[in-house]
């Protein structure tokens, strides 16, 4: 069985724009799930509202498409009702960081055995390109036409501080590493948070001087740096350039987790 068999073939091609990275993230997640050989009847994919949250509709397993920002609350309920289920949450930055921020920190604090895949496209893509909490400083969107003035949310640091057991960040360029990270997250007990920087050519790329989809992937490739390397540079007294995306594993620990079958 390959990951392509986890898709509902009759639903494809999906609704995402040309070059949208969400499809890549679904590929990587399903590939990791497929490697583990889980039974599709024992997996649940849960999502909120947004571009990213349309993902479970294309997957053969059971899914929940819930209210805006409350995907984690619903996922907690599913996991508590039947801890033997494998629960994966697909969520976006607007869903997780903006409206669902409190659900996120408390899910991290409770350390429920979920895997949260956050597709961070740095903008509200579905509603027309408004600035989101993760829009980088200077990023142009419809609500920040002169460039965003606010610092962006660092979701991984938030998850580490709130107490998630496994936190990692990758981009859509790093597909192999992302697959491995999702695999590790699915097998690690406790809340696993995987943040993925995703390109949004329609609403972010075209306003921020990325004419082609490949330009934005090239940006993700050249502006990302492994976290350990960034820390080494800082330790030696150097400076990491502003706007560098720090990728890699942030934390892997074993705090007591909720909903783990003994």
């Amino acid at each position: 069985m390959t990951f392509l068999e986890w898709f509902r073939a009759d639903r494809l091609p999906h609704i995402y724009c040309t070059g949208c990275g969400n499809g890549t993230v679904i590929n990587c997640t399903l590939s990791a799930v497929d490697e583990l050989g889980w039974d599709p009847d024992r997996c649940v994919f849960i999502s909120g509202i947004g571009c990213s949250s349309r993902a479970p509709g294309y997957i053969i397993t059971d899914s929940l498409h819930t209210t805006h920002g409350r995907a984690l609350a619903f996922a907690t309920g599913v996991k508590m009702a039947d801890p033997t289920l494998h629960v994966v949450v697909f969520t976006g930055d607007g869903d997780l960081a903006a409206i669902g921020g409190n659900h996120f920190i408390h899910a991290c604090r409770r350390n429920i055995d979920l895997t949260v895949v956050c597709m961070n496209n740095q903008i509200y893509g579905m509603t027309g390109g408004q600035g989101s909490p993760t829009t980088p400083v200077g990023g142009i969107s419809t609500t920040t036409p002169y460039g965003s003035a606010e610092p962006a949310f660092d979701l991984c640091a938030l998850a580490v501080a709130a107490g998630a057991n496994y936190v990692t960040r990758w981009t859509t360029y790093h597909v192999k590493e992302l697959t491995k990270a999702v695999h590790a997250g699915l097998t690690h007990p406790g809340l696993s948070f995987i943040e993925v920087f995703v390109q949004c050519p329609t609403n972010y790329g075209r306003r921020n001087r990325f004419k082609q989809v490949s330009d934005q992937i090239e940006f993700l490739k050249t502006h990302s740096m492994i976290r350990q390397k960034a820390e080494r540079i800082r330790g030696e007294g150097g400076q990491v350039k502003d706007g560098t995306i720090e990728i890699g594993e942030f934390v892997k620990r074993s705090r007591p987790a909720m909903g783990v079958v003994k």
Binding site: L4, F7, L12, P13, C28, V175, V213, S214
Partner: protein, 90 residues
């Protein structure tokens, strides 16, 4: 095995042209029936996965398939006695 781009799914983002280490995927020039410029395959028999997938029993490189946001790249089983092309590179 042979490399196939599913024209019904491809949306023409050309991400595969960027990641393929052999540059098998090349940006296309012709609009298809759905109004999309699908990448063309330049000597797909060079693909390692086509040749060695069966031997190793796993997907070898697969970057194009993983990065394709539209799940349009796949490897199909060849028919019996299908004509083959050979590519020898120096």
């Amino acid at each position: 095995m042979k490399l196939v781009i599913d024209e019904g799914r491809c949306k023409g983002c050309n991400l595969c042209t960027m990641v393929c280490p052999y540059r098998i995927f090349q940006p296309g020039t012709i609009l298809n029936r759905r109004g999309i410029v699908v990448p063309v395959l330049d000597r797909p028999e060079r693909c390692t996965n086509c040749r060695l997938q069966k031997l190793h029993g796993r997907t070898l490189c697969g970057m194009c398939q993983m990065i394709c946001p539209d799940q349009a790249v796949r490897w199909d089983e060849e028919r019996l006695f299908e004509r083959h092309r050979m590519a020898i590179e120096f």
